[in-house]
Symmetry: C2
Subunit: 395 residues, 2 copies
Amino acid sequence: MDRYLVISSDCHAGLPPEQYREYVDPQFRDAFDVALPIQIEATQEAAKKFLVDDINAEWRNGQEEGLTGAWDSDARLKVLDRDGIAGEVIYPDGITEMNMPPFGAGISLPVEEVVPELQWAGARAHNRWLAELCQMAPERRAGMAIIPLLWDVDQGVQELRWAKQNGLKGCMLPVLWGKLEGYDHPKFDPFWAECQALGMVASFHSGPAPMNDYHADNPGMIGFYISEVCWFLARPLTAMIWGGVFERFPDLRVMFTEGTAVWVPEYLRLLDFRYADTPYSAKLGDYTSHMSMKPSEYFARNIMIGASCMPRREAEMRYEIGVGNLAWGSDYPHPEGTWPQTEGHLLETFMDLPEEELTPMLGGNLVQLFGFDEEKLAPLVAQIGPEKAAFRSSA
Amino acid sequence: MDRYLVISSDCHAGLPPEQYREYVDPQFRDAFDVALPIQIEATQEAAKKFLVDDINAEWRNGQEEGLTGAWDSDARLKVLDRDGIAGEVIYPDGITEMNMPPFGAGISLPVEEVVPELQWAGARAHNRWLAELCQMAPERRAGMAIIPLLWDVDQGVQELRWAKQNGLKGCMLPVLWGKLEGYDHPKFDPFWAECQALGMVASFHSGPAPMNDYHADNPGMIGFYISEVCWFLARPLTAMIWGGVFERFPDLRVMFTEGTAVWVPEYLRLLDFRYADTPYSAKLGDYTSHMSMKPSEYFARNIMIGASCMPRREAEMRYEIGVGNLAWGSDYPHPEGTWPQTEGHLLETFMDLPEEELTPMLGGNLVQLFGFDEEKLAPLVAQIGPEKAAFRSSA
C-alpha cells in the first residue's frame, strides 16, 4: 500500500434541531415543541459569546454543500473523500451552533439547569438518528452514543447495550459532574464492566468548562477559556486513574478528544510523582495499594488521545505521549478543523516522520480501538488516501 | 559571605483556636463562643479525611516544643535558627488541624457554607495577632494578611491598608471563587491598584480544591486530590493573565505558594500558544489586543512561585521556570515540610548549582519581593546560614 489509511478521531454530526422531533420518544414531543425555540435561541446566544459571526460566515462562504454533510450522508462522504479520510469517529454537535441534540444533550452535557429525564430523551433521540447515519456507511463510521451517565448508572448500562446492538462503537460521557458524584466513584463499575464486556469505547470530548467563569467584562475571556479547558477534560482521567478503574477493568479503553495532547507528558510525570513514595504519602496514608501500576502505565494501556488538528509540536512529543496513544482527528465540520485542506495540515504536522509511526497515528490506532475493517477500506484508501511518498521531503 | 541567606517562602502560624477570642471584634465574640466547638470538631473531621492520625502523631513525637512555634515567637525563632532559616513568609494554619483562624478564615477560605461577615471577622482577628507576632521579629517575618476579597473589593482595600500600616507585607486571597466573580473581572482593579501602590504582595496558597469531589469511597482519594490541587491554584493566575491585570498593573507582584512548580513550563507554553495567532483566534475573535506581552512575559515579570520543599527536579527546571521566579520554602510547621532537617533537604535539591543561582532562589528573590533587610540579617546569617562550601560536591 503506497497510501495511508486515515481515520479521523474527531468528527461531528447532528440534525437541524427541528428534525430531531421524529426521533424523540412520543411522550416527550410536547416538551420538544415547547423547548425547540428556546433551545435555538439559547444555542445561538452561547455561540455568540464564543464565536464571531462574521468570521464564521466568511469561513463558511462557499462551503455550504460540504456543511450539509453535518447530517447528510452522501454530502458527508464526498467531503471525507476529497479530504483523504477513509473513516471517522462521530461525536454530536455537527455545525457548532446549529445541530445540537435536544434538551441539553449535546457535547457540553450540563448537569445544572437541565431536567435529567429530558436530557436522556434528547440523548436517545440523537443516538437513534446517529445509528441510522452510521448504517449508511458502516465500514467508515464509528458513532459515539451520548450517555448522560452521571444521573443513573443502570440507565447508562441500558443505553450502552442499545448502542452496541444498533451498531454504535462507543459512547460520549459528560466531562463535568458538578455536585454529582464523579468518575472515581465505585458506583460506576457496572458501566465500566459493560463497556469492557461489549468492547465499547468510553469517551470524553473537550469543550465543557465552568462557562459562567468567563465574563464578557474580560476582553481576554476566550483566552482564559481555551487555556484551561483541557484541564477540565483531564479531570475524569485523573478521577478514573486514582479510583482504580483501570486496575479493575484492564481492557476498558477510554478516549479523550480535542483537548490537545501537549499537557500529557507533564501530567503523567506529576501523577507518577504523586504515586511514588514521597513525604506526602507518609502523612496522608495509603492511597496507592489498590493500584498495581503507575498512572503512566494505565495511560499507556487504556487511554487514547483524540488529537484533533494535531500540531507539529504534538507530533514531536509522540514518544512521551505514546505513538500508540495518539489518534489524529480533523474536527469536521467545525471551522477550526483541518477540513477542507486536510492533506496540507497532515504534511505540516507529520513531514518526515517514519512510516511505522504515521501508520498508527493516522489511522491504525483507531483500527485497533474501534475495529475498523482495513481490508474493506483498502480499495477506498487506494483511491483517496494521502500518498506516503508525499510525507518524505527527500522524495 | 560564606553562608547563604535562606528565607522560607512558605511558613505557617496560628493560635490555638480559643486564643483567637480576644482578637475578634467584640460584637462577634458571642458568635465566636458558639462557633468554637463546632469549628474544632469540623476541623478535626476534615483533618481525619486527609491526614492519618497515628502517622502524624509519630511524626510529632519529640517535636512538641518546636511545634509550639506555630504561635510562640521564641520557640519559633529557635526552630528557624536550628534550621538555618533567617527569614520567613508567614501564612495562616500553623499546625494543620489545630490552629485555624475562626469562622472559616483559614487557608481554604471557602465561599460556600460560610457567613461572609463572620469570615471577614475571623480574618481580621488573625491579622491582628499576626501583626503582633511579626512585630516581635520584624526583620525576619513577612506576614500575609488574610483577605476574603471575593465578597467585597472595598473592604479588601481597607484591610490591605490596615495590614500595610501594621507591618504586614502582603495578603493571601481565596483560591476558589465558586459562583462568585473570579480574578479576571475588572471589578478587582481598585484592589490590584492598592497592592501595587503600597508594594503589598498578593498571594495564593495551595490547598483549596472541590473537596466534595474526593469521596471516601475511593481508596485513591488522596492521590486524586494531590494530583489536581495545583491546577486549582493556577486558575487565579490564568484568570489574571487573560484579564489583563498585569498589563494594567505592571508592578503588581503575585506569589503562588506550595503548588509545586513542575507544571509551570508547560503551562506557559500552552498559554503562549493560545496567545499566538492560531486557527482558534480567527474563529473566536480578538482576545489578545488588550495584552502587549505574551503570558510567559507577564509571568517572568510579575509572578513568584513559593516553591515549598522544592525537589531536585524543579531545581533542574529552573531556567524554564525562571531563576528569578522561584523562592524555596520550608513549610514549617507542617509535617510534609523540610523542618527539622532543612539543610539535608537543601543539599539534596541544590547540590552543585552555581552560587549566583542559589543566592536568589534560597532567599534573594524574597529580599527583593518583600524588602527583607540583608544588612540587618547578615550577623544572623553568619551564625546560622548553611555554608556555601557544603553545596559543592568537589569541596
